[in-house]
């Protein structure tokens, strides 16, 4: 019997492409955020509101993933920003090579913020690095407090949890603090922002977070390059 030591990550091919994307984003000053959630948590509407409220002239672009249809891309395109639909035709998650193919024709030097809306799925997207700066998990108040405990892989990897649809809280028994607590149990450093795309609550905070993160993660690179 020949015993061969490999110590190879199974998703090393995806990781290779993701690393390549990460380098390109860094080189062109693009902040890339990977939005993950269950189907129906409100990712698309949140992105619509985000694009509406970002300062005029913001250089943003969106990739949106779905198994079928380009409904989300159509909605988001109304914002006037560049939007592309990735249709996976069966894959339950986006992977790095899909992102690489989608941005082929895009001038990355003209983009400061790239939002990637993943396929609605709280399980699979967690395993696939897309070269993003951060994963953002969107949890709707209708989903129950213990989702972070049920889907730890996703919450463990997310830098931010958006607790969405808080305008519905008066109609629900959900304890928002408990939901945040469970998320921190799985990932102590996770930040939490409560939002409502109906009342507008938390949207300014969310946009502030995005801009701060670009400054933190991308801005330093630009300052270095300018020197």
């Amino acid at each position: 019997m020949k015993h061969l030591v490999l110590e190879k990550k199974v998703l090393s091919e995806n990781d290779r492409v993701a690393a390549r994307l990460r380098e390109r984003f860094a080189g062109h000053g693009v902040l890339c955020l990977n939005l993950i959630s269950s189907p129906g948590a409100g990712k698309t509407l949140l992105l619509e509101r985000t694009l509406e409220r970002m300062p005029k002239g913001t250089r943003a672009a969106v990739l949106t993933g779905d198994i079928q249809t380009d409904n989300d891309a159509r909605r988001l395109a109304r914002s006037g920003y560049p939007v592309k639909q990735i249709t996976t035709a069966g894959a339950c998650h986006l992977d790095a090579s899909m992102i690489e193919r989608a941005i082929e024709q895009w001038p990355l030097e003209e983009i400061d913020y790239l939002f990637v809306e993943n396929v609605g799925n709280l399980v699979c997207p967690a395993s696939y690095d897309l070269g993003e700066h951060a994963k953002v998990v969107v949890l709707s108040v209708t989903e129950g407090e213990d989702k972070p405990l049920k889907y730890p892989a996703t919450f463990y990897r997310a830098a931010l949890m958006i607790l969405n649809k808080v305008d519905l809280l008066p109609h629900l028994t959900l304890d928002a603090e408990l939901a945040a607590g469970y998320a921190r149990e799985v990932h102590p450093e996770i930040e939490v922002i409560r939002t409502s795309c109906v009342s507008g609550e938390g949207l300014a905070e969310w946009i502030g977070w995005i801009e701060r993160k670009r400054e933190e993660w991308v801005g330093t690179k630009e300052r270095e390059m300018a020197r």
């Binding site: 061969l4 490999l6 091919e13 892989a153």
Partner: protein, 83 residues
């Protein structure tokens, strides 16, 4: 579920090792899987068995070292039969 594409990645790597060693049959592949990797080990075994059927890798056993914490998804080793 993506256990299928993960199984395919494992199969491909195992096959390449086999080919690099004169076609020696892969008897076992050692995986390290963390609870936070999001991968279901039973599903993975099933998918691997399904796609290996009828190929030179048929019968290759997956030896899974499962750790509840951590997010590992590694192919640690492959055992090839002597020819």
């Amino acid at each position: 579920m993506h256990e299928l594409s993960i199984a395919a990645s494992i199969l491909e790597t195992v096959r390449r090792q086999s080919e690099a060693h004169g076609g020696a049959r892969a008897a076992r592949a050692g995986l390290r899987i963390g609870g936070r990797s999001g991968v279901d080990t039973e599903s993975l075994r099933f998918c691997f068995g399904a796609i290996a059927a009828g190929t030179p890798e048929e019968g290759c056993e997956l030896a899974i070292d499962y750790e509840a914490e951590g997010a590992a998804l590694d192919l640690a080793w492959v055992e090839l039969e002597d020819q």
